[in-house]
Amino acid sequence: MKIIVCVKQVPDTSGKVAVNPDGTLNRASMQTIINPDDLNAVEAALKMKDETGCKVTVVTMGPPPAAGMLRELMAMGADDGVLVSGREFGGSDTYATSQILAAAVKRIGVEKDDIVMCGRQAIDGDTAQVGPQIAEKLGLPQVTYVAEMHKTGDTITCKRMLEDGYMTIKVKTPCLLTCIKELNTPRYMSVSGIFEAASKPMDTFDYNTLKDDPLIDPTTIGLKGSPTNILTSFTPPQKGAGMMLEGDDKATCDKLAGILADKHII
């Protein structure tokens, strides 16, 4: 049994974000982090490894420096890593990204008792689309928004969150699950893990590695294979600052309530 976890390196949007004059993001000025939901997927896989001794493979698509992130995940306990990287893959939207990642996962190999795991969504795009689209390309059943999971034999019972409650869903392996932060608390790298990580196997898949897969075609990957195009990108105007009231005492609060009442806001 093995678990393949798809992860993404993302700009840390919680910090200062710089925007270029042309309206694009100044990525060079930003810290990169491991996408938070993906860490929950890795933790779920490592928990299962602790219990069953299964293998955990982490895979990412990105520029060569993303290999550093895979080493960090190996220091947490992942057994090996695959970096999917190539100029031909650049400019991919979610459809094209899922074609490439599905081909990579296929090459790693999905056996009868394997699981593919993803985070719910990445904080740079917030689309939550790549997980389900990989599942479709691999012909696997999917369960998204997984907050709890238990495996018995070849069946995984998932608590799948809804806005107004949850569903309990049973799915057989092989399958794809997308994880939310309620699922677990990701572990830290261990000191021995950091030592071991450097010698764990890491593979790189480029265009040539994957090109014989029917999913990989110039019409389905990269910018040219993306069904969507960006028409415009822009920054929203800042709403002008309003009135800063003097003081922080009763008189200030009375004044504010008076303004709200006069304007019929309350």
Binding site: Q133, A241, K250
Partner: protein
């Protein structure tokens, strides 16, 4: 590779996937039907609701009251509860058969499971979690003028997009606008080469039309045959559980009092003060991501890019610094009141009224002041 959905002219009409849970339509359905009506009018085509479920004919006509010309009802005992496999199969079959040019889903936990699966199968583009939709160019340009910092000349000159190196006329394309990078940037996405153009749409953002009984009565219902068997479904729904606790209705609230990291020195006390003020205003309590991540309030209270988008009459931010993710979810509130100890907190940049002070001191005074002001009316 060749695809069978590139003949753009063969696709017509705007469709809205109308989600039901336990046989009840979701509020998002009415928002999407209302928005879909606008898009269908801009395109000069019909608006159809697509409703899947088990014995759901009875709820279909209501969608007409918000603007649907027609509702396609796919009925099967196997569609009673949502499963990705069954719903994706029936929706993709119906789309391939009847060929809509636009397909909208609510960006609910179900819509965001289903939309990508369908888009991947149909080989078309899907834009996630949209907050604004247009077709008509002049209307889109007016939107950009009001909602972007782009220069007017640049907006006025827009006509085409570079698609595979060629100029593509975008006048009939669905223009799907959404926040990216946690709200730092907005992007308008098109799906120029394939149909249908698909979008999931953020709940609570699109305005609902007034219900019209005459239109509901006139709404046409069609029931295509559904080809679905148990062997098509690889997951088993064991149970569907409604949250025992009543969830907070942020989207429908006129008054929201939200708390942020500023309550950390006395979490329960801070939440109590927010609840008191919310009760006085007749509203509900929300929270920033920090508050939800720390487990101080449950996830249904979260306002922001990864939470809910709200536009109440009054939004009170207590001890919230105003990270861009948070602003993305509340900056369109009619009146924003911010209380923060730090006079350089970014929340003050968008607040209509700001008080620099400790929320533990200011909030009870404000609650009393609101009570007094209301009593004096």
């Amino acid at each position: 590779m060749s695809f069978n959905n590139t003949d753009i002219a063969a696709f017509k009409d705007v469709w809205v996937f109308c989600e039901q849970r336990q046989g009840k339509l979701m509020p998002t359905d009415f928002e999407l039907i209302s928005e879909g009506r606008k898009l269908a009018d801009e395109l000069g085509v019909k608006l159809c609701g697509l409703l899947l479920g088990d014995k759901v004919d009875g709820i279909a006509k209501e969608l007409g009251g918000y603007g649907a010309d027609k509702v396609i009802v796919c009925d099967s005992p196997l569609l009673k509860n949502y499963t990705t496999d069954a719903y994706a199969k029936v929706i993709c079959d119906t789309i391939e058969d009847m060929k809509p040019e636009v397909m909208l889903f609510g960006a609910t936990n179900i819509g965001r499971d289903l939309g990508p699966r369908c888009a991947a199968r149909l080989h078309t583009g899907l834009c996630a979690d949209c907050t604004h939709l247009d077709v008509d160019m002049p209307i889109y340009k007016n939107f950009l003028k009001a909602s972007s910092t782009l220069p007017e000349e640049k907006i006025d000159g827009m006509k085409t997009a570079k698609v595979l190196g060629e100029d593509h006329d975008v006048s009939r394309d669905l223009k799907m606008t959404r926040p990216a990078f946690g709200g730092h940037l907005m992007a308008t996405i098109i799906c120029p080469r394939f149909r249908p153009a698909m979008a999931t749409v953020r709940p609570g953002v699109m305005k609902k039309n007034a219900f019209d009984q005459k239109k509901a009565d006139a709404c046409e219902i069609v029931k295509p045959s559904v080809s679905l068997s148990a062997s098509d479904i690889d997951t088993e729904v064991v149970e569907v559980v409604k949250a025992a606790k009543k969830l907070v209705d942020l989207i429908g609230a006129d008054y929201i009092v939200s708390v942020g990291r500023g309550i950390s020195k006395n979490v329960q006390g801070g939440i109590k003060l927010a609840e008191d003020l919310a009760a006085e205003l007749g509203g509900v309590v929300g929270g920033s991501r920090a508050v939800i991540d720390s487990g101080w309030l449950s996830a249904d209270h979260q306002v922001g890019q990864t939470g809910k988008t709200v536009h109440p009459k009054v939004y009170v931010a207590l001890g919230i610094s105003g990270a861009i993710q948070h602003k993305a979810g509340m900056q369109d509130s009619e009146c924003i009141i911010a209380v923060n100890k730090n006079d350089t907190a970014p929340i003050f940049e968008i607040a209509d009224y700001g008080i620099c002070g400790d929320l533990f001191t200011v909030t009870p005074l404000l609650t009393d002041a609101v009570r007094a002001a209301k009593a004096a009316k």
